[in-house]
């Protein structure tokens, strides 16, 4: 499916979906509440069949006080991509976990917890992935500081 018809089909499949501008591939924005149901549909519906979660990451929009969760979906059968984005507040960055749908999500979500402190509801084994368990702070947040951080002189 090409981008246009894919977006049209996805928008028809669920409500509350906004089209994401300024992206180089098909991208939609959804509220965090409906995320799991939508993802389930995207994976299981034969016309989407997104069987691979290619990538998952978080963007820290410090100025707006939100975290943006990015899911890059890929379908092996149809060979199309879809980027799903959802925004939650930085104070309580909790989204439903999609690790029940795609196995790799378990570890991608662990990485995002490790780096951003993003919390995933329903994740079975949420712990740090790269850093030690007693590390203070979340390094990829824009406001992260520690004693031994070198900053480039401007």
């Amino acid at each position: 499916m090409d981008n246009q018809s894919l977006i049209a089909a996805v928008t028809a499949a669920a409500n509350n979906i906004k089209l994401r501008e300024k992206a180089d591939r098909a991208a939609i924005e959804v509220p965090a509440e409906g995320l799991l149901a939508l993802m389930q549909k995207l994976r299981d519906d034969a016309q989407f069949s997104f069987d691979m979660l290619c990538d998952h990451t978080v963007i820290d929009w410090l100025a707006e006080g939100t975290f943006e969760f990015v899911y890059q979906l890929y379908s092996m059968t149809h060979q199309h991509y879809l980027m799903v984005l959802t925004r939650v507040s930085r104070d309580n960055p909790t989204v439903p976990s999609v690790s029940s749908l795609w196995k790799i999500a378990e570890w991608q979500e662990r990485e995002c917890y490790d780096m951003f402190g993003a919390l995933y509801d329903g994740h079975k084994d949420l712990r740090r992935l790269f850093l030690e368990d007693d590390w203070k702070g979340f390094p990829l947040r824009k406001d992260y500081k520690d004693d031994f951080m070198l900053e480039r002189p401007q």
Binding site: T77, H78, Q79, L150, R152, P153
Partner: protein, 217 residues
Amino acid sequence: MEIKFKTLVAPEIKRGCLMGNMFNALGSLWKGMKITIYYLTHPSTVVTQQYPENRETLKMMDRFRAQLTMAHDENGHHTCTACGICDQNCPNGSINVVDRKNPITGKKELDRYIWRMDSCTFCNICVQVCPFGTLEMKGNFEASVYDRRLFVYTLNKYAGPDQKNLLKIENLDDRKKQMESRDIFGGPVPLSGQSIAGLEAGVFDQLRKTEEAATNG
């Protein structure tokens, strides 16, 4: 959606009878052994290089990036104008261009061109961005030293105006006056008394003093 491209599928390996398998197995082992014995009996296939012995004949490729150098022409003049583009473009802050005002003309000129080899990643961006072709990467890979402070180099041999401005001066003696010599390990590095990030100032001097005191009793 059907897959359009051509694929090769892994071949299936058939299983024979017990005795056949056993002889095939021994045969496969023998084939492997033939290859290794071939190399044993042909010493010309040895690829080892005896490094310190072959130093004379060992030649690095001409583009090999191992050391940043500043080109000086036959008169000892360089073309650096201390514009600092390389400094800005260096990804890891390995380059520090220290400029000064020329005491006679008052123009901006290069005082010290400091390159920290210990943090350099040899990405070649500084050479690429230099508008005057001043910098070049040389293939001298034997850079090991016993003290990591010796990795902080001053690349220019003199502080003063660049080649273009120097050539405007007709008198050779006047030219010499503009060129204040700089040694390779001087400058704002711990070896000479000014601190840089992470290293205290004057460590080297202190060490030398304590050593002298120890030898003098």
